[in-house]
């Protein structure tokens, strides 16, 4: 806080006046927050372990929980999948070109891991983990960074004993000394600032700007609106009539339960209108479809082989796969460990039927 303190001293008059009761008339708005309400929301963990709940979790448990809840994006060994964050590795790379910043190589406080996992993860089902599970996941992330052994158990008692490799790697904003003194009017040049100007880098060479191809560059809505405006009003009921029979028969209540379970899948799979392939393929119409039926998705060899053999995702086969994906297709890229409860499996399948457009 070295930068901040001198400024504060300069403005103590302001702060002092704030602390006096005269500065503001209370309006008496709002109501007192109840202890249970504060407990429900006040979950932040401070860098010295302030706010850590009682509890513990082992690397061993963490490995299983991580595999089920985290690995589909972060990899089985926290090495990261696609553009999702890598949580392990990168030791000693911070001064290299393109440093790899992970929990092990970069994060200065372990409290941040616990705080973030508990409040914000897993993606699509945040704030559903027990405190012990969060300890276990935190322990596993430490293990995957070689910071603890495989028999380690993390608890609120030993939490602050864990040493983070980059704990001393941060300085407080020093721009006032290192930059504000240089980037000034006194140093600004107006005439004859350089002799020649040569192009040293060109964006066109890299060619990574998103391109909008031909017609797509035009507003898509415009022609559609035009068509709709021109079409007779009777057009609408026709569309509804066409849409109705396509809806597969399904149990709406069960499908609604399945939608909740599907949150576990959402980080990788999209469904519904406008769905796109992500880490995993679109799942629209998957129930009853041939295995690996999305043409522009790159499936693992196991799945394409099944496709070639004419295997179909009927409900029984889907149920078997969802219970233990790697038990059915050993090399599947889907790193999800599987749904433990049959009820969840049935519900998810019902939900997938409900979105089968």
């Amino acid at each position: 806080m070295s930068k901040f303190l001198p400024k504060l001293i300069a403005s103590t008059a302001l702060i002092a006046s704030l602390a006096t009761p005269s500065f503001a008339e209370k309006l008496g708005l709002g109501r007192v927050a109840l202890p249970d309400e504060i407990a429900a929301w006040n979950h932040d963990i401070g860098p010295q372990g302030q706010g850590l709940p009682m509890g513990s979790g082992s690397v061993e448990d963490g490995e299983m929980i991580f595999s089920e809840n985290c690995a589909s994006c972060h990899g089985e060994f926290a090495e990261g999948v696609d553009n999702w964050p890598k949580l392990a590795g990168g030791d000693g790379t911070l001064a290299d070109k393109d440093p790899l910043k992970t929990v092990g190589s970069y994060w200065p406080y372990l409290s941040t891991v616990y705080d973030y996992v508990r409040r914000s993860m897993p993606f699509g089902a945040a704030q559903t983990m027990s405190d012990d599970d969060v300890y276990a996941i935190t322990a596993y992330i430490l293990y995957s960074n070689y910071l603890v052994d495989d028999d380690f158990v993390l608890t609120n008692e030993n939490f602050m004993d864990v040493e983070m490799p980059n704990a001393d790697g941060f300085i407080i904003d020093d721009r006032p000394e290192t930059e504000l003194t240089i980037f000034t009017e006194a140093n600004a040049c107006y005439e004859n600032c350089k002799e020649t100007v040569e192009v040293t880098k060109r964006a066109a060479v890299l060619d990574v700007t998103p391109q909008e191809e031909g017609a797509e560059a035009e507003p898509e809505a415009a022609p559609v609106e035009q068509a709709a405006a021109d079409a007779p009003v009777e057009a609408a009921p026709v569309e509804e009539a066409v849409a109705a029979p396509v809806m597969a028969a399904f149990d709406a209540d069960l499908a609604a339960q399945g939608e909740t379970v599907f949150k576990k899948c959402k980080a990788c799979h999209q469904v519904g209108e406008g769905a796109k392939n992500k880490v995993g393929p679109i799942l629209n119409g998957v129930v009853g479809a041939p295995v690996a039926h999305i043409e522009d998705f790159k499936y693992s060899k196991d799945l394409t082989t099944a496709h070639d053999e004419g295997v179909v995702w009927d409900e029984a086969h889907l149920a078997e796969f969802l219970a233990k994906p790697k038990g059915v297709y050993k090399k599947t890229k889907m790193s999800f460990a599987g749904l433990k409860k049959d009820d969840d499996i049935n519900a998810v399948i019902e939900y997938l039927k409900s979105v089968s457009q």
């Binding site: 553009n83 790697g169 904003d173 060109r202």
Partner: protein, 393 residues
């Protein structure tokens, strides 16, 4: 030859147009359909946790319409009704409080205009010129007029006597969405100019900007402007959350990293001509325009160079710079049709002058991600098309 658009009867001059209720909440006319936010798909793993870019190349003035103001979500934009909205103030306060949206509407209100810039704006340009278009290089910014309550008023309502000496206290702010984005703000800033806002540009915040209530932290990096604000906690320590340690920190050449680099330094960019805005009229009168801003104060001037930084001339500010808000600049020239290396350079009222990328690299190295406020160069060719380039210093 006579222009048929003038000499021939046009349909719109004869038949009638749309009635008043055709669009109860209007959209831009179809011909402006390309003035939209755009995403760079390779930047992030999924659109749910991603960012898109304001079409600054196609806008003028300084106010960003909400509908095309860039979005950044960490767990997607949520739908949170005013009726379901609760704001809690807890921690080192005299009385922890809960406010409903209706409660917030009863506090004295303020209207202030500020820019919001993501700390990662221009971040893809550190290693070299990458993206062709001011929308992509500088579009993680918007500028709106906010209506809301000063955070100081709310903190005073809860009472700060319990916090004791305020000089070393912090305010932790947190969102209601699944990302639970949380940031620590020093008390000095919290009591200075931070707003709890519920309207932008006169109307309710858009869902993607945190409806019904967001935080406004003037001049400071956008990540701190917590959306769907649900909790304000007075603490005696910063939380050191993920977004203030593993992200939004700036790694220097030697591997050490700066933290708490909250303030967005003075910066500017020529929005037109630019790669998405070619000159189509040939030589002659040309309007060069762009935007300038500073998180440390008001823009006091903008220089423009058409020769890649050999010489600089003063641009005309559309109006006097306002603190921590966008300023529009113009340079009206008679273009001779030869190639230009267009640059702009912002000055703010603290005496700061926007640096070149070389100057920044000299201090920070090339591993920085955030806070790239370097001078941008557009290579305008003789045919009027432009390319994003870097030039020798």
């Amino acid at each position: 030859t006579p222009d048929p658009l003038i000499t021939e009867m046009q349909d719109w001059a004869s038949s009638t147009g749309e009635g008043v209720d055709a669009s109860p909440y209007g959209m831009p006319i179809q011909f402006e359909g390309d003035v939209v936010r755009r995403n760079v798909p390779w930047l992030t793993a999924d659109v749910i946790s991603s960012i898109n870019f304001t079409p600054i190349h196609a806008l003028d003035g300084t106010i960003t319409p909400q509908g095309c103001a860039f979005e950044r979500h960490h767990s997607g934009a949520i739908e949170l009704k005013k009726e379901d909205y609760r704001l809690m103030i807890n921690g080192l306060v005299d009385r922890p409080l809960v406010f409903s949206y209706a409660d917030l509407e009863r506090f004295p209100r303020e209207n202030r205009t500020y820019f919001l810039e993501c700390a990662a704006n221009t971040g893809m340009e550190w290693a070299g010129a990458q993206l062709n278009g001011s929308q992509f290089t500088h579009g993680m910014i918007h500028n709106m007029e906010y209506s809301g309550i000063s955070l100081r008023t709310l903190l005073e309502e809860a009472g700060l006597d319990a916090a004791g000496d305020l000089a070393d206290k912090w305010v932790y702010v947190e969102g209601a969405d699944a990302s639970s984005n949380g940031r620590s703000i020093p008390m000095e800033k919290a009591l200075d100019d931070v707003l709890v806002a519920f309207k932008a540009n006169g109307e309710a915040l858009r869902m993607e900007h945190g409806y019904p209530v967001r935080l406004v932290v003037p001049g400071w990096e956008g990540n701190m402007w917590v959306k769907w604000l649900r909790r304000i906690e007075v603490t005696d320590h910063p939380i050191e959350s993920r977004e203030e340690t593993s992200k939004y920190t700036d790694t220097l050449a030697d591997g050490t990293s700066r933290k708490w680099t909250w303030i967005m330094d003075a910066k500017s960019v020529v929005t037109s001509p630019s790669p998405q805005m070619p000159i189509t009229h040939g030589k002659g009168p040309l309007v060069i325009t762009g935007l300038a801003w500073s998180g440390r104060g008001a823009i006091s001037g903008v220089d423009v160079s058409i020769d890649g930084g050999k010489t600089w001339q003063k641009a005309r500010l559309a109006k006097e710079g306002e603190k921590m808000a966008l300023t529009r600049f113009y340079l009206d020239i008679n273009w001779d049709g030869s190639e230009m290396f267009l640059q702009s350079r912002a000055h703010d009222d603290t005496g700061y002058v926007q640096p070149t990328k070389a100057q920044l690299r000299e201090v920070r190295g090339e591993n920085s991600v955030y806070h790239n406020n370097c001078i941008q160069t557009w290579w305008v060719k003789e045919n009027g098309e432009s390319e994003n380039v870097e030039v020798s210093s």
